[in-house]
Symmetry: C2
Subunit: 411 residues, 2 copies
């Protein structure tokens, strides 16, 4: 793929410019909802939209839109991603989607003038859930699934109430009107993959067919704390050894059942956690994701039956407590097919992909036809200052987005 | 076994009396070396020894002896255990050995008068290592393996220097003379099992043939921290899943290799220890014990080879750091045989047993002929306020000790 250097520079420069708001000493970006860095970024972005000839405005919770009015009234095509980051995040997560949408729209405007259908670039105010214990505040307001009532008791880690933070960043709850939109007929999001699949497969673009469902559990196995020297192996009720057997089993089973199933034990707490005492208790997390509910059902039934059998055999107790249960979301197949045709024509290496991470597209996905597109993440690293996507991949994404928007809004 | 109630009461009462020094609100006993509770217990015990007609004295580090002079000069038979406890320990660990030796000697004195060979009951000042980071301070001084030089830089958790604590409890380093003894020809210790083997086998007495060797390691497995949703299973370097496989393997292998081999992973730390992140690192302890060095060698070679192979296959790094390496100690076979003959005659159900825990007898075991005897621990619980041994078992131990001492010192 041949791209002119000046064009490639455009997306790179916009990414760097956005990363200057909330830049950290460690080379990362921290732009939490309703903080000064977040506010500065949104207002600077608003100015940039206006300079590009877009009609820029905020809704009452802080989502920023840059509108390119269509010649036909009615439908709005929304495209963009989120402006907030995790603490010490990277430059690309969220920001790239906004940059790509903004550049694609600017180019279309310059080249073709006003579209037939209205296009709006959106800088969604919040997706990560890094400051307050809730996610998708931006997209769920637009889709009518969140309102002020949902955050009236929510506080951040410093005890600052959500509504107070909102007020101080310029979005007064007193002048609030619903941010829900009835005119949005399509949503298109460009995002970094946050995984290593595209890079391993040497593909520049991923066309997302599904966003995985997520189930998260806390599992506790209770055995008997005993002397590590005086308790023969057959008399033990060793919680660590029971957990090790279960984790080995579930890892093996996940690999066997489906190549796209992932199961992760990321957190573990052992009690009493002393070298010379057989562990009496272990608590650990289990994160299960797949894009088909049936596969998750089958996997959970299998491993939890095994846990029950194993615990019975060892005369040990266990408990399973589920604290997340999000269904998979299937994205629009028609727009995905349009995207495939375009990248094929452009000669860009691509593949279908399932998103293992959550995205605003999963909120829009049950609200209107939605298209989510990925570009590679170097080594799969994300939520880190080391997050990186090569310029040529960033530009391939912009070029694809430009064609898609042209097809939908101009043709 | 028929024992008169008044006789059984004697040992029970002495145990309760000793437990009153350092009694905790939680019903346990905390008697750390050179603390006021420890000092009070040793001085009260000295008074009791004197009342019983023993010649009571301290050595220069705080070991307390009650001497019953023999008619023949020379050899001394030492019998007893340790007065110190762990934090929030039980009534029996250490204390029972002192009580049993004291009662056995008192009875012998009352019934037969002066022995042929000198007997001394000893209340060893320290065994547990619960206050200062060293163990066996009492027995290792007697056996000439420790002296003041070994503790000159040692401090407790509050930063109090060992020598300062020693000074304030009345044992001035300035008047120190070596506590090493050349006259001790035999050592006999009665102790609770701290395991559940005697109880499970319904035996009242255990005759200890060996004290296990102990090896302790810190093992670290380094993988790669990744997104739990976007990293397919085959691309992961999951430290938790690698550790789970290794722990399952070593547990299975320990059971297969030898019924008396124990291997314990009691402590675990996962990094970053977050539910939705594949763990990049895990560190865990491994405690291995057996009474034969060759078995430990064979086991370690096997499992560490497996760890190497497994890490190579997963392209992960590991490190093994050993921080304890104590050889097994074989105890005196002749005295063990005498003990067997006596319990057999007494009709007390007994068995040979290996001690999985450390005891002062392992220090004496390489210094002079040593006999270690166990009575049952209810449910194997020790180092806990729940530590319990039935009166009839306590008395069976005293009766056995009385006969042993009679055979060695009177006949």
């Amino acid at each position: 793929m041949l791209v002119k250097r000046s064009v490639m520079d455009e997306v790179g420069e916009l990414i760097e410019w956005l990363a200057s708001f909330g830049k950290t000493a460690g080379g990362g970006v921290t732009r939490l909802l309703y903080t000064p860095a977040w506010k500065e970024a949104q207002h600077a972005l608003k100015k940039k939209m206006e300079e590009a000839g877009l009609q820029a405005y905020f809704d009452s919770i802080g989502n920023l839109f840059g509108r390119l009015e269509g010649t036909e009234a009615g439908e709005t095509i929304l495209t963009g991603s989120h402006i907030d980051t995790v603490i010490e995040g990277g430059k690309y997560d969220g920001a790239y989607g906004i940059a790509a949408s903004f550049i694609a729209m600017s180019r279309l405007l310059q080249q073709y003038g006003a579209p037939r259908k209205t296009i709006e670039v959106v800088s969604l105010c919040e997706e990560e859930g890094s400051r307050f214990p809730l996610s998708f505040w931006g997209s769920k307001n637009i889709c009518g699934r969140y309102g002020l009532d949902d955050v009236k008791d929510v506080k951040d880690a410093d005890g600052i109430p959500f509504l107070h933070a909102m007020q101080t960043s310029g979005f007064s709850p007193e002048t609030y009107t619903s941010a829900a939109r009835r005119d949005v007929h399509r949503f298109i999001e460009m995002h970094i993959e946050q995984g290593m699949v595209l890079e391993k497969n040497q593909n520049a673009v991923g066309i997302v067919t599904h966003i995985v469902g997520q189930r998260r559990y806390t599992i506790r196995i209770e055995g008997e704390s005993n002397h590590a020297g005086t308790t023969p192996m057959p008399f033990r009720k060793d919680a660590v050894s029971a957990a090790a057997e279960f984790i080995s089993y579930l890892t093996r089973k996940a690999k066997e059942l489906d190549p796209l199933l992932v199961a992760t034990v990321g957190r573990m707490e052992v009690k009493p956690n002393v070298p010379n005492v057989v562990a009496g208790e272990i608590e650990f997390s289990l994160d299960i994701r797949h894009h088909k509910k049936e596969i998750m059902d089958q996997f959970c039934a299998d491993i939890f039956t095994m846990l029950e059998k194993q615990s019975e055999a060892r005369q040990m107790e266990f408990s399973i407590s589920q604290w997340m249960d999000e269904d998979p979301v299937e994205l629009d197949t028609e727009m995905a097919e349009w995207a495939r045709c375009i990248v094929q024509k452009q000669g860009t290496p691509f593949q279908d992909i399932v998103s293992g991470a959550g995205h605003d597209s999963q909120v829009f996905g049950t609200f209107c036809p939605t298209l989510l597109l990925f570009v590679p993440s170097h080594s799969g690293i994300s939520h880190s200052p080391k997050e990186y996507t090569a310029l040529k991949d960033l530009e391939a994404g912009v070029a694809l987005l430009e064609e898609i928007l042209y097809k939908i809004a101009y043709k």
